[in-house]
C-alpha cells in the first residue's frame, strides 16, 4: 500500500458505500443508542443497535460527514448484523489495528468484509478518526447493553 494514488484512499468500494449508506435510518426499537462526534471536523453519527440473546440483530444510523465516515458506517452495518458480542469485539479490534498500521495491515477480509477497503486510511493519519467514528459509536453502544 502506498500514497501514490488517491484511489488507494478512496477505493471504488468506499465511494459506493458513501453513496449507498447501508443501514441509514434509525431503528424503531433500539436496544442501545450511541452518539459520536468528530471534534476536529464536526462530523457526527447517531447509531442504534438492536440486540437479543447476545447477538447484534441490526444496526441503524443517521448522521453526516465525509465519504470516509459515511462509507465506514455503511460497511459496519453490513458486517456486524448477526454477530455475537465477542465477534463484534474481534471486528472492532481488527478494524482498529488495520487503521493504526500505517499501511502494513491490509485487513482480514473474512473478518471485515468491505471494510478492508478502508485500509488505505491508515496512511492518512488525520482521517483515521473519520473512519473510526461509527466504530467507536458501536463500541460505546455495546458497552451500554448488559452482557
Amino acid at each position: 500500500m502506498s500514497r501514490e494514488d488517491l484511489r488507494n484512499l478512496y477505493q471504488d468500494v468506499l465511494v459506493d458505500h458513501s453513496h449507498e449508506r447501508h443501514g441509514y435510518g434509525l431503528l424503531e426499537d433500539p436496544t442501545a443508542e450511541s452518539h459520536g462526534i468528530n471534534r476536529s471536523c464536526g462530523d457526527e453519527i447517531t447509531l442504534h443497535i438492536r440486540a437479543g440473546d447476545g447477538v447484534v440483530e441490526s444496526i441503524g444510523w443517521t448522521g453526516q460527514g465525509c465519504a470516509i465516515s459515511q462509507a465506514s458506517a455503511s460497511m459496519l452495518s453490513d458486517i456486524v448484523a448477526g454477530l455475537t458480542r465477542d465477534e463484534c469485539t474481534r471486528c472492532l479490534d481488527g478494524f482498529r489495528s488495520m487503521l493504526q498500521s500505517r499501511g502494513t495491515d491490509d485487513g482480514d477480509e473474512e473478518l471485515l468484509g468491505d471494510a478492508v477497503a478502508l485500509s488505505g486510511v491508515s496512511l492518512y493519519p488525520p482521517r483515521i478518526n473519520c473512519a473510526m467514528l461509527a466504530w467507536t459509536a458501536l463500541e460505546d453502544g455495546l458497552s451500554r447493553i448488559d452482557a
Binding site: L6, Y10, C41, G42, G65, C66, A67, Y124
Partner: protein, 420 residues
C-alpha cells in the same frame, strides 16, 4: 506599477516546496500566512545578537533588546495610524480579545477605581456581536456576559451571509455598551460596513471593538480614520511570526482599564498588600515578552509597506474576484458570500454539491493545493447558512494566477472523482 509576484515569491522559502509531487499551491493564508525571509532573518538576528529580556536589567543586550522591542511597537503604530502607547503586544488576536473581555470583567468586579466606571457591566447592559464572528470574537463576550449578568445580542446575517444592517439600528441601542465585529469575514471574504456600524455605536456611546485579523493582511488600515476604540490583529496571518498579536486601543481608554494578566514589569510600586500599575501599554504586558516575535512582526509590516498596502489591496481585490468568478462558473459549486463583482478580499468559501469539505480538501491536497476545510471557527455562521462545513481558499501577496488556475481546475474535477 503592479506587484512583481515572482520577485515576492523568491522571498518565501517554503513556496519552493513540492507536495505530493506537485508544486505547493498555498491557498490557506487566512489560517496562517507564509513568512518572508526578512521576517525569519529579523527573528534570527535578534536571537543571535541581542537576545535579552526587555524592560529590566542594565546590561548592553537588555538595552538593545528593549530598544528593538519598542522600535517594533512604533513600527506597528505607524502601520495602523496609532501612537506607540496605543499598541499592546499580545500572544495573538484571541489573547487580545480576551484581554479586553477580562479587563471589562475586572472593572465590573469593582477593580480599577472610578476611572474604570465606563467599563463596568451590570445586568441590563448589552454586548453586541454579529452572527458571522470567528469564535475568538464571540466566546470571550459570551463568557463576559455570563460573569457580569450583561446580555449578549447579535446582528444576524441574511441567506447570502450579508449583515442585516436593517436590524442593526434596532439592536444597537441605549443599553449597548460594547459592539464587537469582524472587519472582514473569515468565511465569506465580505468587508463589513465599518463606518455604518461605528456610527450606530457612537450614537449610543458604546465602545467599538474591531477584529481586523482578516483585513490587516489585505487592506490599508487606519484605526483613527475607522474611528474604532479597539482593534485586534494576528501577526501570523499578516506574514509575521506565530505567537504575536496586537491590541490597539485609544490611549485614554487603555490607561483607564484595569489590567488582566498581572505580575512582573507592569507595576509602579508593590507592597505585600497592594500594587500600583504602569500606564498603557506596560500595564497589559505582564511577564516576559515575545520579543523576537514582535521584531519579526515589525519586519512583516516593513515588507508589506515596501510593497505598498494600496498595491497589496489592488492585487488582493483582483485575486478575490478571480476566485469568486472562477468558482461561480464551475457546475455544482456554490460560492459563499459576495457574488462575483461585489467587493471581497482574496478569500472565498464554497460548497461542492454532494462532496464533504474534508474530501474536497483531501482531493486538492493530492494535487499539492492547500485549502481550509471545516467550519473555520465560525460554527454559528455555518449553522445559519444551513451548512455543517465549507471549503475555503485564501490568498496572499505571493499568490499567482497559476495558483488560482490550478486550484479552479482541481475544484472542477472533485465531483467526478467522488461520483457526486
Amino acid at each position: 506599477m503592479p506587484l512583481d509576484i515572482d520577485r515576492i515569491r523568491a522571498q518565501f522559502p517554503v513556496l519552493r516546496r513540492r507536495v505530493n509531487d506537485h508544486p505547493l499551491v498555498y491557498l490557506d493564508s487566512a489560517a496562517t500566512s507564509q513568512k518572508p525571509r526578512a521576517v525569519l532573518d529579523a527573528e534570527r538576528a535578534f536571537l543571535e545578537h541581542h537576545n535579552a529580556a526587555v524592560h529590566r536589567g542594565a546590561h548592553a543586550l537588555a538595552a538593545e533588546a528593549t530598544e528593538l522591542f519598542e522600535v517594533s511597537r512604533e513600527r506597528l503604530a505607524r502601520f495602523l495610524g496609532a501612537t506607540a502607547e496605543e499598541i499592546v503586544w499580545t500572544a495573538g488576536a484571541t489573547a487580545a480579545l480576551n484581554l479586553l473581555a477580562y479587563s471589562f470583567s475586572n472593572a465590573s468586579s469593582g477593580r480599577g477605581g472610578a476611572q474604570a466606571e465606563r467599563f463596568r457591566l451590570r445586568p441590563g447592559d448589552e454586548l453586541v456581536v454579529t452572527e458571522l464572528e470567528h469564535h475568538a470574537n464571540l466566546i470571550p463576550w459570551q463568557e463576559l456576559a455570563g460573569r457580569t449578568g450583561a446580555t449578549l445580542r447579535h446582528i444576524g446575517v441574511d441567506d447570502a451571509g450579508r449583515l442585516r444592517m436593517d436590524e442593526a439600528a434596532g439592536i444597537i441601542g441605549e443599553r449597548t455598551r460594547v459592539l464587537a465585529f469582524a472587519h472582514v469575514s473569515n468565511v465569506l471574504g465580505a468587508i463589513n460596513p465599518v463606518a455604518e456600524l461605528v456610527a450606530l455605536a457612537r450614537r449610543v456611546g458604546a465602545l467599538v471593538v474591531l477584529d481586523a485579523c482578516q483585513s490587516a493582511p489585505h487592506l490599508p488600515l487606519d484605526v483613527k480614520a475607522l474611528d474604532v476604540d479597539f482593534a485586534v490583529l494576528s501577526g501570523h496571518k499578516m506574514l509575521g511570526p506565530l505567537g504575536i498579536g496586537v491590541l490597539y486601543g485609544r490611549r485614554e481608554l487603555l490607561d483607564a482599564m484595569p489590567p488582566f494578566l498581572t505580575g512582573g514589569s507592569m507595576i509602579t510600586s508593590v507592597t505585600m498588600e497592594h500594587a500600583e500599575y504602569l500606564p498603557s501599554p506596560a500595564r497589559f504586558e505582564a511577564g516576559t515578552q515575545p520579543v523576537s516575535q514582535a521584531i519579526g512582526l515589525a519586519a512583516a509590516v516593513d515588507f508589506l509597506d515596501d510593497l505598498g498596502m494600496d498595491r497589496v489591496h489592488e492585487r488582493d481585490a483582483e485575486l478575490g474576484q478571480a476566485l469568486a468568478t472562477g468558482l461561480a462558473a464551475i457546475p455544482g459549486i456554490r460560492l459563499l458570500g459576495p457574488a462575483p463583482g461585489e467587493p471581497r478580499v482574496g478569500l472565498a468559501g464554497f460548497i461542492v454539491d454532494g462532496v464533504h469539505s474534508h474530501d474536497v480538501g483531501q482531493f486538492l491536497d493530492e494535487l499539492g493545493i492547500a485549502v481550509r476545510v471545516g467550519h473555520h471557527c465560525a460554527e454559528p455562521l455555518h449553522r445559519r447558512l444551513g451548512l455543517a462545513a465549507s471549503t475555503r481558499a485564501s490568498t496572499s501577496v505571493y499568490t499567482t494566477d497559476a495558483d488560482l488556475a490550478a486550484f479552479l481546475d482541481g475544484v472542477g474535477r472533485v465531483r467526478a472523482f467522488f461520483r457526486a
